[in-house]
Symmetry: D2
Subunit: 481 residues, 4 copies
């Protein structure tokens, strides 16, 4: 769940104060937030909107659980009355998707597909066949079955948006990012769709730290690290990185070569940290050493994209990462709700500050108020010429007035092309499987996943059990009301 991950990761919010344009009046916009009861990304957006004087308007929160949307709307309006707030926004919960979408300019999607209990089953069944998932929301059997649930819901969203907000920009935050985004582009090709994720920012931050450590400069903001970005979400690669003209690859190599940076970890030292996001970049660095290019996602995600890191739990820990229990996720959500309630009730202080995320900058660029170049997940229109056209990939793009135009990233380098393309084909296939309710394609996706190394008849049994445990096929692809 990207929403939880977002709040954990130390995103750098020390950016130099936003320079807002004062020569133009604020642009009025209507936002519809699907999954508007969430306490993750929805809250990030609320805080950042509060601080942006260039925008005004209303935010409609739609959620399958209306009370959660209501609770968030109330909290959003509380934020708007905070003394630090500089914008004028009105929040309201909506009971139907249709009313939320009507003429919206921007639609955000950030949902939990099914329940956390579904997610627990996604992970538990493969575990019985010896297949472990540190995350379980992107690829691996768990990610694919989650995609089955997601895509059918998203087909409904796509149709509803195309009908009620055909000119809106549609911005996805839900995982599996690629499958969700691709469903939107496939079901409603006329929509303007992108998927946004901050995972690359984390690696830019790592590089910014290395600039400070090895180049003797003050730690630059991550956006000063100029990167060539290519791949698919959570398996994105920074194939070149510079800062002020300095090539940063030799510096990464220097860092790896330092004693103690790369080493096997022991189970007990990993568990002792009591941190499910424990990440010493051991898999990042192993892939960099062996393939010559730098992956740009957390190790927990990377481990799910390549065969050989997750044979058993000791092996998982050897690479300095841990599995993420679903129980922990449940606990986290409860904590966040409690905090919000306390803040809403005035029992805890509210501090309105920038999240360091980029959503607002993207909106401003799409409105034609500035230009922006950043990484984003959109259909491959040739930006990566050696991956299939139409597949959703992650590269840099230019955000111009009402346009997200990916920049030419060039071909995925030969040594990593096999690793990456495998997932592209698989993600294309799971979307087809979901939209066509085709179990054979669902199986083919799972059988072809790097985590699935068991005999084919066993893989078939596992798939049958997983499909039975979830009910992806029962989700209607019709537009929700």
């Amino acid at each position: 769940m990207a929403v939880q991950r977002a709040l954990e990761q130390k995103v750098d919010n020390t950016a130099p104060a936003q320079q807002y344009r004062t020569d133009l009046p604020p642009t009025p916009i209507k936002i519809c937030y699907i999954g508007g009861g969430s306490v993750g990304w929805a809250h990030i957006l609320m805080y950042d909107l509060a601080l942006c004087p260039e925008l005004t308007g209303e935010v409609r929160l739609y959620d399958i659980d209306y009370r959660r949307a209501e609770r968030n709307a109330a909290f959003g309006n509380i934020l708007q009355s905070h003394p630090s707030t500089v914008s004028k926004f009105k929040y309201r919960a909506v009971k139907t998707l249709t009313s939320g979408l009507k003429d919206a300019d921007f639609v955000f999607l950030s949902i939990t597909p099914g329940s956390l209990d579904d997610m627990a089953r996604d992970i538990a069944i493969p575990a019985r066949f010896g297949i472990l998932h540190p995350v379980g929301d992107t690829v691996g059997p768990a990610g694919h079955v989650r995609a089955l649930r997601c895509c059918r819901l998203y087909a409904g969203f796509a149709k509803a948006i195309a009908e009620h907000a055909p000119k809106a920009w549609v911005i996805n935050y839900t995982n599996p990012m690629t499958a969700c985004t691709r469903t939107l582009t496939k079901v409603a090709p006329s929509l303007k769709v992108m998927g946004c994720c901050h995972e690359v920012f984390g690696t830019q931050n790592l590089l910014a730290q290395l600039v400070e450590k090895y180049l003797g400069a003050p730690k630059p903001h991550r956006s000063e690290i100029k990167c060539d970005v290519t791949g698919v979400n959570h398996f994105t690669w920074i194939t070149r990185a510079t800062w002020n003209g300095h090539d940063l690859y030799p510096i990464v190599q220097k860092h790896i070569d330092e004693p103690g940076v790369v080493r096997p970890y022991k189970t007990k030292e990993v568990l002792a940290t009591n941190n499910v996001f424990h990440n010493k970049h051991q898999i990042t660095f192993e892939l960099f050493k062996r393939f010559g290019y730098l992956p740009a996602a957390g190790d927990r995600h990377l481990a799910e994209f390549v065969t050989g890191f997750l044979k058993n739990e000791d092996e998982v820990h050897r690479w300095a990462i841990a599995l993420t229990p679903v129980a922990w996720r449940k606990q986290k959500v409860l904590e966040r709700i409690r905090t919000m309630k306390q803040r809403a009730a005035g029992k805890a202080a509210i501090e309105v500050k920038h999240s360091g995320e980029e959503g607002i900058d993207q909106i401003l660029a799409l409105l034609g108020r500035r230009a922006l170049i950043t990484n984003v997940n959109v259909e491959n229109q040739g930006q990566i010429p050696n991956l299939p056209l139409g597949a959703v990939v992650e590269t840099n793009a230019a955000f111009l007035s009402d346009r997200v135009q990916p920049v030419s990233a060039g071909p995925v380098p030969a040594p990593i092309l096999g690793l990456v393309s495998r997932h592209v084909y698989n993600q294309e296939l799971i979307v087809e499987a979901a939209l066509e309710a085709d179990e054979q394609k669902a199986f083919a996706t799972i059988a072809n996943d790097p985590l699935v190394t068991i005999p084919m008849d066993n893989a078939w049994k596992m798939t049958q059990q997983m499909l039975a445990a979830t009910k992806p096929w029962s989700y209607s692809t019709n537009a929700p009301r």
Copy 2:
């Protein structure tokens, strides 16, 4: 000759004062300018460099006529001592290309291929067959024969640069832009090459004027007009334009619909202006009306790209344009040299001011000091998916640290695809003809040009005469010393 055109066109230099970065020391660079004796683009660069505090270094001027290079070097150094100058640059003329290129970071090319007498013959022979050229430097039989001369010279430049300055950014200003740039990419694929032209800026300016006229806003700077740009140089199209979120196409239509804006012109009123750059956008507007998209080049250029505007001189004038006599071009060069001499001798005042051109911004972006999105001529890597890969096309691109990455422009719209693609195939072919010294391919290019509507056996005769009059084949493709 782009160099002359540059100084004629009223480029908007009223941009808000450049905001230069002061947090980083100036970057030292070495520039080699091929055609360094020119009094057009070379002077523009000198003035703009003088005003940029973020750069320092040296500029080597190479020219087939060493004395001209020397004269320019002296003038450049005079500029550097001017009180308004804020940078430190040293200018020197070089006797060999090799010494000019050695370890250069940037190589500019802006030459006259052959003499103005060659150009006069390029235009005079077709005229005897009833084929007129308002410009004669891009397409049409004159443009193609000029390309034959250019490409063989450029093949030599490409090899020399690849040997002596393999990491340099190579920036072409010479016409025919597409053929010259393509020769560089074809002969030396490892080079970093682009071709730059300000013709699109002119149309952005026209749109900025319409914003002022019809939207009641102060005339914005042309860079505030956000455009989708596609096509080939001098036949570029702005397929969408907005300002602050306003779609500008309806405004163009409104303008056209006003009485008197579109009308046939009479020969005498055109000649009375005594202005070879006379341009009432009549061809621009005719193409917009008939094809639904806005071309972004001067009418003199556009008329050479589409059959039917140049049947005879009266017909030329009917569209409010005039032919450009080569005698006029010769006169202009002499005037500029005279002016420079007077300024150098202190007999005329020197005013150091921004040209409004973008060369310096591009350099700063390539050095990683900022980001820039602008239009540029580079190889098609998929930015225009319905034109051939490898051909040089003009679209927007993101200029990032040491990268020019074209943004995905999408397919050329159906109604203009035939008009545009025809020239793409033709320009690919003339480069092949030149590099292979293949007369059949040269003829095929000319026979397939929109201006050539005469019987095929006559077209063959004309081609033979033109090839005999120039001596493109005698130019060595070996690197100049």
Copy 3:
């Protein structure tokens, strides 16, 4: 009208006696013939079916003029009772398209779009603007307006076939071949569609004659001439030809070099022949000389694909061809009907013999009874990598059981790529214009045609007059009953 052309052209029917398979029983098939009242291609099929022992079944004739279909059905049944006939087929006229299509295995289309009076107008209006058409059924303004009429009818056919005979092979003979075939593939992508034309056979025959003349071998059957075929219908090129391993290009060159083979013709000698199909291959040879590749269509067609052969009637005759009056076409149809009636009434002898056409061989290959490699018009799936995917092109293809798989023809050679691609884009555009009833696209097609060299405002007037004279837009795209 291909139907008339077919009977004029001396197709070589001296093929060695068909070797029919006797190890398998005849395959029963159902044929639906749209345009079944025609006296051209429909008759050819009847004769060839009569002589094929491997097929049996029924042929349903559908025509907008039911009496013509009835007349043909009666004649077909007479042929079936002829002593030379070896097959068992039943012919019947059908009153509705639906009843004709029901479960058909093969659907042939060979219609006259509109009337011959429509065709007369298609040709007369451009003539007033100085634009001449020797044929007027493929490209040029006349061809494009004919396409407008055709495509809307064909959209209806496509839907009807997709509904009532979704598994049928659909074989088009109507001109404009490319636009008709493309409409079928575009409107009903799931259909199995091809367009067949014998124009290439004529050039194979010419080459077979040259084999006899210059290699001293007995004249081989045209199918012994192995060709690389590429391009679009009526502008197809044989880019390599061999016979028994001998390269035939040098022999073509030898032939051209003989005195008298290539020379200007005089109007009176052309008219003296009183033969609208007069063809001395002067345009074929001119294109071969200038571009280095051999076009494979009659000169009357070729002249419509390249600027410069049709400036006025004397110029037309200079290339040894003549214009085809529509009055002549009307006369021809009447003659054929008269002959049929006489034969049906026993007043003229019936001779049942092979036409030399390939329709039956194609059917047998599609039924899996043999393999066949021949030229055909289908969507570009990569067989010509430098033309747009999806466009209908003509190359060789392998006919295998229920499959027509184009063979890789490689890229169109550089010198002719511009000539050919221009038409590909134009034909794609006219189909869009027709299906979308978009006058601007119709104009863009016409303005971009090689025959249209008049000023753009005149081209616009001409187009308006042509569109008013025909009523393409009034044709329903709904399926005929």
Copy 4:
């Protein structure tokens, strides 16, 4: 080693007697056979040439072991004097490759890269890491290291052929087929190259048997089974199969559904057969059931292309296949040499009969004496649009005079695209690794192979040991003398 496999497999040689053309004299040809000392494919060619009256000429045998070439040449000439022989061919061993290639019309390649001891090490080292290879000559770590040896040798062959026999058809039989063939096309793009393998014929035979069993027809010859063929060598798929219009997929399903056809096998029953080619199509049928498409190679090969069949030796046997010991291979070669010697000495009878292979038919088609459609390995020119251009793939092709033109096979079906494309990327990469002597790319290939499921640091160790054990890098890429 394909050569041994060839003689083992029961290729159907009951084809109806070849129908040879008598209307043309035999064509004289010069063949160069690289690996001419082999006792596999070289012998097959000798027998088939002896029986073909349409060809005449000479065969030069080149081998790294000259005495073996001499022995084969002597035997070839003995065959030519056999009473059943109808052709005139002269065999001679050559000491240098240059003399063998001089002006050759056809060059065959069928070599052992390194020794059988090398092959033993290729298999033994991965076995120590738990990775088993039933064959070890195509993919898996053993196949990739074999490719490293092959490609460097083949680079030399490519250059030599391009220099001495630039117009020859180059036909590869050596495994790994794809890597060998690709090296030829990459190093010498101007050569006419293809790779031929009979593995698909075996599956056609299986289908012919099912026709007999379920359709009650006499068993047809395999060439009567019309197939859509797609994929890469040894992992080719028959995505559609028909006989006389009957779809054969339902019949395959019917067969699988019969009791006992699909079942787990026991180690002892597999070993009891004492047959390394034991094949009950269990993997073929498993893949058909799970993915919906029929693979067309022996199960020993298939097991190496998909994760999950080779976990340990019991698991191997469960699928009814066995590992092939290199000791067995050595023994087989000795037996064949002994047999040849006895035949040459007149101590064993020589029976000259057709092999059932297609080499001769291909030669006749390339000489323009007939047309042929069959499956072949050539560069992807678009015949499989969803696999990378340039990669060597296996599909049907039309063999016409001096042309092998692949037919459009359409996209690889979605459920198997991931399985197939993975190997395409890997095979492209191992060729690059070999030609660039790049160990990182060699590792990337191995790490990305389906058989390699061990931790990445272990995979690295294994790769290091394998590279050290072979000496691929010591092979010169210069042309052998």
